[in-house]
Structure formats: C-alpha cells, structure tokens
Symmetry: D2
Subunit: 149 residues, 4 copies
C-alpha cells in the first residue's frame, strides 16, 4: 500500500483503530459484477460518497460554486471479496496536508474485516480559473482538527 | 400511476400504509446528476436492490443458477426531487400474481415523503431454455404469504 | 407495450423502421449483473443519455439553468438478453406532445434485434418555482419537426 | 508507472504514442456529477471495460469460471475535466509482468488531449481456492506479444 513517499507509510488503512470518523453505506444489486462479487467501482463510489460527506462536515463542500475540491489522484487496494446484500462501514482520515491539497485515507469494512483501502488527493481549486489555490488558515485549522479527532 | 388493467389500480404505492416490508438504503454522491438531484437511475437501482432482497427473503433468489427471475417490465413515477446525502426507505409489496410472473410495487420515501413509486414485472424462467415457467404451488403459497404480510 | 391511452398504441417501438433518429452507445463491463447479462439499469442509462442528446439537439437542453425538463415517468420493456462487450444502437422519437410535456419513445437494438423499448414523459419546468410550464410555440414547432423527421 | 519505487518513470501514460491498443467508449449523462463534469468513477468504469476486453482479446477472459483475474490495486490520475456528450479513446498497454500478476497502464483521451491515466494490478487466481497462481508459459508468451505490439 506504499505510494509516493509521504502518501502512505504511517497509519495502517486496513485497521479500524486508525479511524475516528465512520460512516455506513448499503450495497446494491447493481454493484455486483459478472462473477457475483461487489465490483471495484462500487467500492470507489462508496469511498467517494463518504469523502464528500467528510469534507462537507468539516465545512468544505466539494461542490461549492466558487471554490471547491477536485480529485487529482485516487488509489484503491482490494484485499477481500465483498458480497451482496449488506452494509459496509467506512473509516476516513486525513493523511497529509499540502499547500493546496489534502490527501485522504479510507478503509472499507464488512463484518469487521477490511475489504479495501483507498487514498484520494483532493485539490482546492478556484472554479472560475480552474487553478489550484492555497488552503487558507481557517481551512488548515479545520483540517487539523479533523486529523486529530 | 395507472398502467395496464391489472397492474396498478389498487394500493396507493405512494403511501407508507400500503406496505408491510421496508428496507433502508443510502444515497451516493455519484447518484447526483448535473442538476444536483439524485438521478432517476439511482432510484431504479435502489428499487432493484430491495426487490432482489425481497424475493430472496421469500426463498426466490433472483440469480439462482437453474431457475430464477428476469425483469420483463419496469416503470418508475417520479414525484419529488431527492438530495444527497441521506438515507431512503423503500416499501415493497406484491401487486399481482400471474401464471409465471409476479408484479411488484414499490415506494421510495425520504423524511416521510414519497419521492418515487415503481412497478416491476418479474418472470420466472428456466435458465437453460430461457423460457417462462409456471410458478409452482409452494412458490405461490410463499408469494401469497408475502402479499398478506 | 401499451400504457395510458395516448402514450403508446401507435408506432411499434421495437422496430427500427419506427425511428429516424439513431445514436450508438458502448456497453461497459460494469453493466453486467451477477448473471452475466447487461443489467436493466444500463439500458435505462443509455436511453437517458440518448434522450438528453435528442432534446439538446432540438434546442432543449435538459439541464438548462432556468427552464429545463424533468422526467415524470419512465417505462422500460425488456425483450431479450444483452451481452458485453459491444455497441448498441438506440432509436428515439416523439410519441406525444402535451401542454407542458413530451413523451419520448425509444428502442435499443443490438445486431439488428430489439433488446428493449422504453418511454419517458419529460415535463418542462421552471427551475425557480419547480412548476410545470406550457411548451411555447417555438418549442412546439421544433418538437413537431423532430416528430416528422 | 509500476508501483512501489518506480511508480512513474517508464512509458508516459498520458501520451498516445505510448499505446498500440486503442478502444472507443461513449460517455453517458449519468456519468456527470453535481458539477456537470464526467465523474471520476465513469473514468474508472471505462478503464475497466477496456482492460477486460484487452485481456479477453489476448485469450485471458477476466471472468472465466476456473481461472481468472482479480484486480488487486487500481490508481487513477485525473489531468483534465471531461464533458458530456462525447466519445473517448482509451490506450492500453502492459506495464509489468510479475509471477502471478500483470500491471496494465491506460490513458483516456478526448479530442487528442489526455484526460486521465490509470494503472491496474491484475492477479491471476484459481477461483476455487481464491489463491494467486503463477502465469504459465503460454500466457506469458501472449502477454509478451501484447507488450510488444
């Protein structure tokens, strides 16, 4: 699960103890692929949903009209098969804060077992110009609070 | 919401009181369309998931290898806009039992309001031949039980 | 395939000859369900995509900010199984013009065979109020042109 | 673009010249997110579809009943926004061959510009045991041919 230098080393994304923020999501029949397993894309869709809510809860709505976040990089590591029907639990945390980006780490759990882990680099942009903008002090404070919780 | 003669008239699919079977599902960020509303297809995907679970709970797994159900007709009526994030509640019931098909009716509710209703004609088929087969007595008994509950 | 009185009777939606407007779409692996068939929802997603383009080509963008279309009712009839990979062809036409709504009929074809047909009632609304608004004369003229082509 | 250490060096995944295998896919209205851009997941779904076809064309069907491939790791880098409607072109190549895995690299292009690049580590497994199995000589020969083309 190691990526670029600063992206992964630290917290074990496949352990529940690494997270303070959890959210539950339901699986859908359409998530199944031709082999009868929950498809990779469903995992990514659930990670995305929780990430968006996580940022919104911290006062950083992804789809704010003037300034928001776009995803620059996504990784998913698949550890186990997942089956329908059921609910999964997703742990989410901040992994790294850059000048204009936040790297988020996530783990998807079913019946206590980690099914997949993921990371996403979310870049703060100005919608009009499409350019990355620095995370300002209040945002940094909020993100720091998220990281500690 | 009126369809073919026998398909719809009776129970009001947009009223919670019409259902005894309920299931909850979570909305996803990817369900949103370009207008910021939960897309029609997400509604259909949630209806499908609950329908599959509903039939499986009654001992009729949709994807059984030898004999299962295929959908022959689907209708969805959209009554209100739905927003992310959140959970919805789906009521499901049997509307009609044919020689080889079951018509299922559903209502999707958010905060007590009906967002959409749907019907689905599910036909029992033999997988090898692809042909519709009559619902046998034990299945009819189970479906009748579902209809009464 | 008959619905409410004016909705369906006339053109056979499962015949290519009923359409003048065609569009091609590619199937995706994620469209497959647990039985290895292209899922019902993929059919609905492709119908939707073509419908949106059809209306946009006629100068009626679905997601225009002030006035646009919302879908009030969708039906899909499934006639045959569909497999990945491949491309499908969708025929689209106007079935009925109401005071504030257009009913669109569609057929999805693979290798010349009709896989599914669908209808959609699209209602013209004012975004601010959410209310249905009458189709004005220029729109009616454009829709009439679509219907004849 | 192999994983660990060298994750970016070799072939530039964002250049058309890096690929010999190309496939076209159509975008769908449901791919749009609340900001009106094609969502990250649509990109991943298209990469997956082409990857599955790429492996099948090389005689390695992903969903073969006894021995197939599962995805162990997926990465996507997003370079530009993508809009509906339209078609995209996907370039696909083998990046690395391991004992029991193949790493595939992809680029998604629209109007000649690279929108996103991706990698996927696909592991050969025995379905019954779920264990990774070594790529045998005939498979290695076929993959080598793919890599050269």
């Amino acid at each position: 699960m190691s990526d670029a230098p600063g992206e992964a080393a630290p917290p074990a994304l496949d352990e529940r103890a690494s997270y303070a923020h959890f959210a539950r999501h339901s699986l859908r029949f359409a998530d199944l692929d031709a082999l009868g397993h929950v498809n990779n894309l469903a995992t990514a869709a659930i990670f995305e949903s929780v990430r968006v809510s996580f940022l919104a809860e911290a006062g950083m709505p992804v789809s704010a009209p003037k300034r928001g976040f776009v995803i620059a990089r996504m990784t998913v590591d698949y550890l186990r098969e997942l089956h329908f029907p059921g609910e999964v639990e997703v742990g989410t945390r901040v992994l790294r804060i850059g000048r204009s980006s936040i790297t988020i780490g996530q783990g998807l759990f079913s019946n206590g077992e980690c099914i997949a882990t993921g990371t996403a680099v979310c870049v703060r942009i100005d919608r009009a110009s499409g350019r990355a903008i620095a995370l300002d002090a209040p945002l940094r404070a909020r993100i720091a609070a998220l990281s500690e919780s």
